[in-house]
């Protein structure tokens, strides 16, 4: 149950972050008159009952998505098999991302159709406005500001790898590493956003410069705070998993606080952006170009004429890639590979959980296998074999730890590391030493374990 709660705590807030971010983006964009579900419309067009109906439908569908996805993870906690629960969480996450975007795409398609039907589309509006004075000058992100959190995260990860914080399980070091790597990644995203072309809202150069400067400042602060938050979370992770580690006491509250803080930051950034848009609304005298056709479903940007790989989202908040550029295609392939990897991981975990382990003596070797051959130990090298009816306390260093399977490198307090390959539900286990390493193994059930033990004992051990 413990690992299930950790998964739930980590993934559940994504629902609220995603819901709030997408809904705020769309509402803020409509309020400032930039786009309605990603479609450029004038104020008069937006005030028509048909457009209002589409927008209401979008809000209603988003609420339905929120309620549905908020409820289903709880009954799933009672799924007895970890692999099935893990697969459920992964599918829940993917379905959530898709379902959060679907109402937007649906609204976008309907509004585009309405725009065509009513003849609101202006063909002559395909233009690009550039503020000459802003080109390459409005930059807010500096490496020096992001260097301390990046350095601390890297130092914590290096410390975890070198055992500075006590013996850290390998997979936990990898988890700390992944979170630590997020800090430089946040800096990279901040840089990309900072380098985006500035939006031209007015024919007045000063207005454009001040608006761009203020907008970039908000996003710089947002990413910088996120980088520091991520660094603090990395430190909390190493406190939780490094050495003796108070996993539950530190990890759970830290995760909850971290995700709540990210959500709060997002709320803050959108509020600031909204205030900025309201402040500059009277001075916005440049009509944005009608580039609806470059946005597939309002979410995917495809414009071969545009040389930018990273472009600002149509709503003005965030970055997306131009799928017509090689870099954009590469990013799309990376995303597809990440999803494929997540699905493969689910299949692999299920395979591991539902494939019974096998222990047998074959050709004078003790062979332990599951899916593939895990250990093949010559009986001649085995020392001090013993049949145990109780397992010592084991903590995982690397490998698999499930209710029905312990496999990999584990640690026994005050004794050191050992290799484990067993079903902890059994009541008998085989202990032996080989090449200076302690082994704890068992078969699928007690019967198989006893059979392997008897086969082992029938061999003439030099020590016996």
């Amino acid at each position: 149950m413990g690992i299930k709660i950790i998964l739930l705590v980590c993934l559940y807030p994504v629902l609220f972050i995603l819901y709030f971010a997408l809904k705020s983006e769309v509402e803020s964009s409509a309020r400032s008159g930039r786009a309605y579900c990603g479609v450029r419309l004038t104020k008069q067009q937006a005030d028509t009952p048909e457009v209002k109906k589409v927008f209401k439908e979008y809000v209603r569908q988003m609420k339905a998505v929120l309620v549905f996805f908020a409820l289903i993870p709880f009954p799933a906690l009672f799924i007895p098999w970890f692999s099935v629960y893990f697969t459920f969480e992964m599918v829940w996450m993917l379905a959530l991302i898709i379902c959060c975007v679907l109402p937007f795409v649906s609204g976008n398609v309907k509004l585009k159709a309405l725009k065509r039907e009513r003849g609101w589309r202006k063909e002559e509006e395909r233009y690009l406005a550039v503020e000459l004075k802003n080109a390459g000058k409005i930059r807010r992100v500096r490496l020096i500001q992001f260097a301390p959190p990046v350095f601390i995260s890297a130092a914590v990860f290096a410390g975890a790898l070198s055992g500075l914080f006590g013996e850290t399980p390998r997979d936990m070091s990898a988890a700390v590493g992944c979170i630590a790597c997020m800090t430089p990644l946040l800096y990279a995203v901040a840089r990309w956003m900072d380098n985006l072309p500035t939006r031209v809202i007015s024919t007045e150069s000063d207005t454009n410069s001040n608006y761009a400067r203020a907008g970039k400042q908000i996003w710089k602060n947002f990413w910088l705070c996120n980088a520091w938050l991520n660094t603090l979370y990395t430190v909390c992770m190493i406190l939780a998993f490094g050495g003796t580690g108070g996993l539950w006491e530190i990890f759970l509250p830290a995760s909850v606080v971290y995700l709540a803080a990210v959500l709060a930051l997002l709320v803050w950034a959108f509020r600031e952006k909204r205030k900025l848009d309201i402040l500059y609304a009277p001075r916005m005298d440049m009509e944005p170009a009608d580039d609806d056709d470059n946005w597939i479903g309002g979410v995917l940007y495809y414009n071969p004429q545009d040389g930018h790989t990273f472009v600002g989202k149509k709503d003005g908040t965030g970055v997306t890639v131009n799928m017509a550029r090689p870099g954009g295609k590469l990013m799309a392939v990376c995303c597809i590979l990440a999803v494929a990897w997540a699905l493969f991981a689910c299949v692999w975990v299920m395979l591991v959980e539902f494939t019974p382990i096998r222990l047998e003596v074959k050709e004078e070797r003790l062979v332990a296998s599951q899916i593939k051959e895990d250990y093949s130990i010559p009986l001649a090298g085995i020392k001090d074999p013993a049949l145990l009816e109780e397992l010592p306390s084991l903590s995982k260093v690397s490998g698999t730890g499930m209710d029905t399977l312990l496999k990999g490198t584990f640690r026994i307090p005050q004794e050191g590391r050992c290799q484990v390959f067993l079903n902890p539900q059994n009541t008998v286990f085989i202990y032996f030493e080989y090449g200076g390493t302690a082994y704890y193994v068992s078969g699928r059930d007690d019967e198989e374990t006893r059979e392997a033990w008897e086969d082992m004992m029938s061999w003439d051990f030099p020590e016996n």
Binding site: R126, L128, V130, L132, N134, A135, G136, K137
Partner: protein, 123 residues
């Protein structure tokens, strides 16, 4: 100063950039001595190849509208060469415009009035 580039225009992008900078100088939106963005920054902002912007700047330099040097980048010139007439290319362009106006039935007075409006900087 805002420059507006038309994606569907037959006029090449470098010429659109050049033309708009010339218009900016003539109506005072670009002041004498004012610094222009670097070739790389402007190309990045527009999302085009640096060579295109470079071509526009080279043209402006040759025509005597801007000065470029490695240290200070591109700047609007303090004074412009006085020709007391149009260049050959501009003259041909004007002839084409006049011909189009004539064919469309525009009178000489209406055409000159239109020219005066643009000359005075009215849109």
């Amino acid at each position: 100063m805002v420059i507006v580039l038309n994606d569907d225009s037959d006029v090449p992008v470098y010429l659109q950039i050049r033309n708009q900078i010339v218009v900016g100088i003539s109506d005072g939106r670009l002041k004498a001595g004012e610094k222009l963005p670097t070739v790389r920054a402007l190309a990045q902002e527009i999302g085009i190849n640096s060579m295109t912007v470079n071509k526009a700047y080279q043209m402006l330099k040759q025509e005597g509208y801007i000065l470029t040097d490695k240290r200070n980048g591109a700047r609007i010139r303090e004074s412009f060469p006085r020709r007391n007439g149009l260049s050959r290319e501009a003259g041909e362009e004007l002839r084409r415009i006049i011909s189009e106006a004539k064919i469309s039935g525009m009178t000489r007075e209406a055409f000159l009035e239109e020219c005066s409006r643009y000359f005075e900087g009215e849109e």
